[in-house]
Protein backbone atom coordinates (compact mmCIF):
# COMPACT_ATOMS: atom_id res chain seq x y z
CA UNK A 1 0.00 0.00 0.00
CA UNK A 2 3.07 2.16 0.25
CA UNK A 3 4.73 1.57 -3.10
CA UNK A 4 7.07 3.95 -4.95
CA UNK A 5 4.17 5.47 -6.91
CA UNK A 6 2.33 6.38 -3.74
CA UNK A 7 5.49 7.86 -2.28
CA UNK A 8 6.37 10.04 -5.27
CA UNK A 9 2.79 11.28 -5.67
CA UNK A 10 2.67 11.93 -1.92
CA UNK A 11 5.87 13.98 -2.13
CA UNK A 12 4.33 16.10 -4.89
CA UNK A 13 1.11 16.41 -2.90
CA UNK A 14 2.93 17.52 0.22
CA UNK A 15 4.82 20.18 -1.73
CA UNK A 16 1.52 21.44 -3.17
CA UNK A 17 -0.07 21.56 0.29
CA UNK A 18 2.84 23.48 1.76
CA UNK A 19 2.40 25.96 -1.09
CA UNK A 20 -1.25 26.40 -0.10
CA UNK A 21 -2.75 24.63 -3.14
CA UNK A 22 -6.47 24.34 -2.36
CA UNK A 23 -7.21 21.82 -5.12
CA UNK A 24 -4.55 19.52 -3.75
CA UNK A 25 -6.03 19.86 -0.29
CA UNK A 26 -9.59 19.20 -1.50
CA UNK A 27 -8.38 16.10 -3.32
CA UNK A 28 -6.76 14.90 -0.12
CA UNK A 29 -9.97 15.49 1.83
CA UNK A 30 -11.93 13.57 -0.79
CA UNK A 31 -9.48 10.66 -0.63
CA UNK A 32 -9.18 10.24 3.13
CA UNK A 33 -11.95 12.35 4.70
CA UNK A 34 -14.66 9.68 4.78
CA UNK A 35 -12.30 7.04 6.22
CA UNK A 36 -11.19 9.51 8.87
CA UNK A 37 -14.79 10.22 9.83
CA UNK A 38 -15.54 6.48 10.12
CA UNK A 39 -12.52 6.09 12.39
CA UNK A 40 -13.78 8.99 14.52
CA UNK A 41 -17.23 7.36 14.70
CA UNK A 42 -15.83 4.07 16.00
CA UNK A 43 -14.55 6.01 19.03
CA UNK A 44 -17.19 8.64 19.76
CA UNK A 45 -20.49 7.36 18.27
CA UNK A 46 -22.25 10.75 18.08
CA UNK A 47 -21.91 12.12 14.56
CA UNK A 48 -21.77 15.74 15.78
CA UNK A 49 -18.73 14.92 17.92
CA UNK A 50 -17.21 12.87 15.09
CA UNK A 51 -17.49 15.90 12.79
CA UNK A 52 -15.71 18.05 15.37
CA UNK A 53 -13.03 15.41 15.70
CA UNK A 54 -12.48 15.25 11.95
CA UNK A 55 -12.17 19.04 11.68
CA UNK A 56 -9.76 19.17 14.57
CA UNK A 57 -7.73 16.34 13.04
CA UNK A 58 -7.38 18.16 9.71
CA UNK A 59 -6.28 21.29 11.50
CA UNK A 60 -3.75 19.25 13.46
CA UNK A 61 -2.52 17.70 10.23
CA UNK A 62 -2.05 21.11 8.60
CA UNK A 63 -0.18 22.41 11.62
CA UNK A 64 1.98 19.30 11.65
CA UNK A 65 2.60 19.29 7.92
CA UNK A 66 6.13 20.62 8.24
CA UNK A 67 6.96 17.92 10.74
CA UNK A 68 5.61 15.12 8.52
CA UNK A 69 8.72 13.35 7.32
CA UNK A 70 7.17 10.71 5.14
CA UNK A 71 8.34 7.87 7.35
CA UNK A 72 4.80 6.47 7.35
CA UNK A 73 2.32 6.70 4.50
CA UNK A 74 0.26 9.88 4.47
CA UNK A 75 -2.87 7.80 4.98
CA UNK A 76 -1.53 6.14 8.13
CA UNK A 77 -0.31 9.51 9.42
CA UNK A 78 -3.76 11.09 8.94
CA UNK A 79 -5.58 8.14 10.46
CA UNK A 80 -3.28 8.16 13.48
CA UNK A 81 -4.01 11.86 14.02
CA UNK A 82 -7.77 11.35 13.84
CA UNK A 83 -7.58 8.31 16.15
CA UNK A 84 -5.67 10.32 18.73
CA UNK A 85 -8.04 13.27 18.59
CA UNK A 86 -11.03 10.91 18.77
CA UNK A 87 -9.58 9.07 21.75
CA UNK A 88 -9.13 12.37 23.60
CA UNK A 89 -12.73 13.32 22.86
CA UNK A 90 -14.01 9.91 23.95
CA UNK A 91 -12.31 10.38 27.31
CA UNK A 92 -13.72 13.90 27.58
CA UNK A 93 -17.20 12.49 26.88
CA UNK A 94 -16.67 10.61 30.16
CA UNK A 95 -16.85 7.28 28.47
CA UNK A 96 -14.49 4.52 29.49
CA UNK A 97 -10.97 4.79 28.18
CA UNK A 98 -10.46 2.54 25.17
CA UNK A 99 -7.97 -0.29 25.51
CA UNK A 100 -7.83 0.16 29.25
CA UNK A 101 -5.80 -2.49 30.97
CA UNK A 102 -9.07 -3.36 32.71
CA UNK A 103 -10.67 -4.51 29.48
CA UNK A 104 -7.64 -6.62 28.57
CA UNK A 105 -7.12 -8.06 32.04
CA UNK A 106 -10.60 -9.52 32.34
CA UNK A 107 -10.79 -13.16 31.35
CA UNK A 108 -13.51 -13.62 28.77
CA UNK A 109 -14.06 -17.06 27.26
CA UNK A 110 -15.17 -17.14 23.62
CA UNK A 111 -18.06 -19.40 24.62
CA UNK A 112 -19.67 -20.18 28.00
CA UNK A 113 -17.85 -23.08 29.73
CA UNK A 114 -21.07 -25.15 29.76
CA UNK A 115 -20.69 -25.70 26.01
CA UNK A 116 -17.84 -28.05 26.95
CA UNK A 117 -17.65 -31.17 29.09
CA UNK A 118 -16.38 -30.69 32.63
CA UNK A 119 -13.17 -32.21 34.01
CA UNK A 120 -15.05 -35.22 35.43
CA UNK A 121 -17.00 -36.07 32.32
CA UNK A 122 -16.08 -38.61 29.68
CA UNK A 123 -14.25 -36.22 27.32
CA UNK A 124 -13.12 -33.22 29.36
CA UNK A 125 -13.00 -29.88 27.48
CA UNK A 126 -14.61 -31.33 24.37
CA UNK A 127 -17.94 -30.14 22.95
CA UNK A 128 -21.09 -31.16 24.83
CA UNK A 129 -22.73 -30.97 21.44
CA UNK A 130 -21.23 -29.67 18.21
CA UNK A 131 -22.19 -26.19 17.01
CA UNK A 132 -24.96 -26.59 14.47
CA UNK A 133 -23.97 -25.66 10.93
CA UNK A 134 -25.62 -22.44 9.75
CA UNK A 135 -28.09 -22.49 6.90
CA UNK A 136 -26.60 -21.47 3.57
CA UNK A 137 -26.74 -17.73 3.09
CA UNK A 138 -30.33 -16.72 2.48
CA UNK A 139 -31.09 -15.43 -1.01
CA UNK A 140 -33.49 -12.83 0.25
CA UNK A 141 -31.89 -9.38 0.37
CA UNK A 142 -34.13 -8.58 3.32
CA UNK A 143 -32.66 -11.41 5.40
CA UNK A 144 -29.14 -10.33 4.54
CA UNK A 145 -29.92 -6.76 5.52
CA UNK A 146 -31.27 -8.10 8.80
CA UNK A 147 -28.07 -10.06 9.37
CA UNK A 148 -25.94 -7.01 8.67
CA UNK A 149 -27.99 -4.95 11.09
CA UNK A 150 -27.53 -7.60 13.75
CA UNK A 151 -23.76 -7.50 13.21
CA UNK A 152 -23.68 -3.69 13.29
CA UNK A 153 -25.76 -3.62 16.51
CA UNK A 154 -23.57 -6.28 18.13
CA UNK A 155 -20.42 -4.32 17.28
CA UNK A 156 -21.98 -1.10 18.59
CA UNK A 157 -22.61 -2.83 21.92
CA UNK A 158 -19.03 -4.10 22.40
CA UNK A 159 -16.60 -2.62 24.95
CA UNK A 160 -14.58 0.24 23.43
CA UNK A 161 -11.34 -1.54 22.59
CA UNK A 162 -13.08 -4.51 21.00
CA UNK A 163 -15.45 -2.28 19.05
CA UNK A 164 -12.68 -0.11 17.64
CA UNK A 165 -10.44 -3.04 16.70
CA UNK A 166 -13.12 -5.11 14.94
CA UNK A 167 -14.40 -2.01 13.15
CA UNK A 168 -10.96 -1.21 11.76
CA UNK A 169 -9.95 -4.80 11.00
CA UNK A 170 -13.12 -6.44 9.74
CA UNK A 171 -15.41 -3.56 8.70
CA UNK A 172 -12.73 -1.25 7.29
CA UNK A 173 -10.45 -4.10 6.23
CA UNK A 174 -7.17 -2.72 7.64
CA UNK A 175 -4.32 -5.15 8.27
CA UNK A 176 -3.14 -5.80 11.79
CA UNK A 177 0.10 -3.83 11.39
CA UNK A 178 -1.85 -0.72 10.48
CA UNK A 179 -4.31 -1.12 13.35
CA UNK A 180 -1.48 -1.64 15.85
CA UNK A 181 0.35 1.39 14.50
CA UNK A 182 -2.63 3.73 14.51
CA UNK A 183 -3.93 2.62 17.91
CA UNK A 184 -0.48 2.14 19.43
CA UNK A 185 -1.40 -1.38 20.50
CA UNK A 186 0.85 -4.41 20.68
CA UNK A 187 0.18 -7.20 18.20
CA UNK A 188 -0.86 -9.48 21.08
CA UNK A 189 -3.32 -7.04 22.62
CA UNK A 190 -4.79 -6.22 19.26
CA UNK A 191 -5.40 -9.91 18.63
CA UNK A 192 -6.98 -10.45 22.06
CA UNK A 193 -9.45 -7.61 21.44
CA UNK A 194 -10.18 -8.82 17.90
CA UNK A 195 -10.71 -12.38 19.09
CA UNK A 196 -13.21 -11.36 21.77
CA UNK A 197 -15.07 -9.12 19.36
CA UNK A 198 -15.27 -11.74 16.60
CA UNK A 199 -16.31 -14.43 19.07
CA UNK A 200 -19.21 -12.27 20.23
CA UNK A 201 -20.34 -11.46 16.72
CA UNK A 202 -20.19 -15.17 15.87
CA UNK A 203 -22.24 -15.99 18.96
CA UNK A 204 -24.86 -13.38 17.98
CA UNK A 205 -25.06 -14.86 14.48
CA UNK A 206 -25.35 -18.34 15.98
CA UNK A 207 -28.30 -17.31 18.15
CA UNK A 208 -29.93 -15.56 15.20
CA UNK A 209 -29.36 -18.23 12.56
CA UNK A 210 -30.09 -21.32 14.61
CA UNK A 211 -33.19 -19.94 16.34
CA UNK A 212 -34.59 -18.99 12.98
CA UNK A 213 -34.18 -22.44 11.46
CA UNK A 214 -35.94 -24.34 14.25
Amino acid sequence: MNGPETLSSETALLAALRNGDEDAFSALVDTYGAAMRRVALTFVRSSAVADEVVQEAWLGALRGLDRFEGRSALRTWLLRIVANVARTHAVREARTVPFSSLELAEHEPALPPDRFQGPDEQHPHRWVSFPRPWPAEPDSALLSAETRKLIADTIAGLPDGQRVVISLRDVEGWDSAEVCSVLELSETNQRVLLHRARSKVRAALERHLTTEST
Partner: protein
Protein backbone atom coordinates in the same frame (compact mmCIF):
# COMPACT_ATOMS: atom_id res chain seq x y z
CA UNK B 1 -1.52 -37.32 22.63
CA UNK B 2 -1.21 -35.00 25.63
CA UNK B 3 -0.10 -32.08 23.50
CA UNK B 4 -3.28 -32.24 21.40
CA UNK B 5 -5.56 -29.19 21.56
CA UNK B 6 -8.84 -29.65 23.39
CA UNK B 7 -11.97 -28.18 21.76
CA UNK B 8 -12.24 -25.58 24.51
CA UNK B 9 -8.68 -24.46 23.73
CA UNK B 10 -9.26 -24.48 19.97
CA UNK B 11 -11.94 -21.81 20.11
CA UNK B 12 -9.59 -19.50 22.05
CA UNK B 13 -6.77 -19.65 19.50
CA UNK B 14 -8.84 -19.56 16.31
CA UNK B 15 -8.04 -15.86 15.73
CA UNK B 16 -4.30 -16.59 16.09
CA UNK B 17 -4.81 -19.29 13.46
CA UNK B 18 -6.82 -17.17 11.02
CA UNK B 19 -4.53 -14.16 11.52
CA UNK B 20 -1.33 -16.13 10.82
CA UNK B 21 -0.16 -15.52 14.34
CA UNK B 22 0.72 -19.14 15.17
CA UNK B 23 4.12 -20.77 15.28
CA UNK B 24 4.32 -23.61 12.71
CA UNK B 25 4.29 -26.39 15.31
CA UNK B 26 1.13 -25.03 16.93
CA UNK B 27 -0.46 -24.56 13.53
CA UNK B 28 0.14 -28.24 12.80
CA UNK B 29 -1.50 -29.27 16.06
CA UNK B 30 -4.43 -26.97 15.29
CA UNK B 31 -4.92 -28.46 11.84
CA UNK B 32 -4.51 -31.99 13.18
CA UNK B 33 -7.39 -31.36 15.59
CA UNK B 34 -9.52 -29.92 12.76
CA UNK B 35 -8.89 -33.04 10.69
CA UNK B 36 -10.82 -35.24 13.12
CA UNK B 37 -13.16 -32.82 14.95
CA UNK B 38 -16.33 -31.90 13.08
CA UNK B 39 -17.45 -29.52 15.86
CA UNK B 40 -14.28 -27.42 15.69
CA UNK B 41 -14.29 -27.50 11.89
CA UNK B 42 -17.80 -26.06 11.93
CA UNK B 43 -16.73 -23.47 14.49
CA UNK B 44 -13.71 -22.28 12.45
CA UNK B 45 -15.86 -22.14 9.33
CA UNK B 46 -18.40 -20.00 11.22
CA UNK B 47 -15.64 -17.62 12.34
CA UNK B 48 -14.60 -17.24 8.70
CA UNK B 49 -18.22 -16.59 7.74
CA UNK B 50 -18.50 -14.04 10.57
CA UNK B 51 -15.48 -12.13 9.25
CA UNK B 52 -16.90 -12.25 5.73
CA UNK B 53 -20.33 -10.99 6.82
CA UNK B 54 -18.81 -8.26 9.00
CA UNK B 55 -17.02 -6.98 5.89
CA UNK B 56 -20.37 -6.34 4.20
CA UNK B 57 -21.71 -3.78 6.67
CA UNK B 58 -22.52 -0.60 4.71
CA UNK B 59 -20.00 2.24 5.12
CA UNK B 60 -20.29 5.98 4.59
CA UNK B 61 -18.17 6.61 1.45
CA UNK B 62 -18.16 10.39 1.45
CA UNK B 63 -18.16 13.29 3.87
CA UNK B 64 -21.31 15.29 4.53
CA UNK B 65 -20.96 18.27 2.11
CA UNK B 66 -21.21 20.87 4.89
CA UNK B 67 -18.38 19.21 6.82
CA UNK B 68 -16.23 19.06 3.70
CA UNK B 69 -16.87 22.75 3.13
CA UNK B 70 -15.86 23.62 6.70
CA UNK B 71 -12.66 21.64 6.40
CA UNK B 72 -11.70 23.39 3.17
CA UNK B 73 -12.56 26.77 4.76
CA UNK B 74 -10.23 25.83 7.61
CA UNK B 75 -7.50 25.26 5.03
CA UNK B 76 -7.98 28.76 3.61
CA UNK B 77 -7.62 30.23 7.09
CA UNK B 78 -4.54 28.18 7.76
CA UNK B 79 -3.01 29.28 4.46
CA UNK B 80 -3.55 32.92 5.38
CA UNK B 81 -1.61 32.11 8.53
Amino acid sequence: MNDEFKCQEMIEVVTDYLDDGMPPEERQRFERHLSYCAGCSTYVEQMRETIRQTGTIPREESLPPSLREEIVAQFRNWRRG
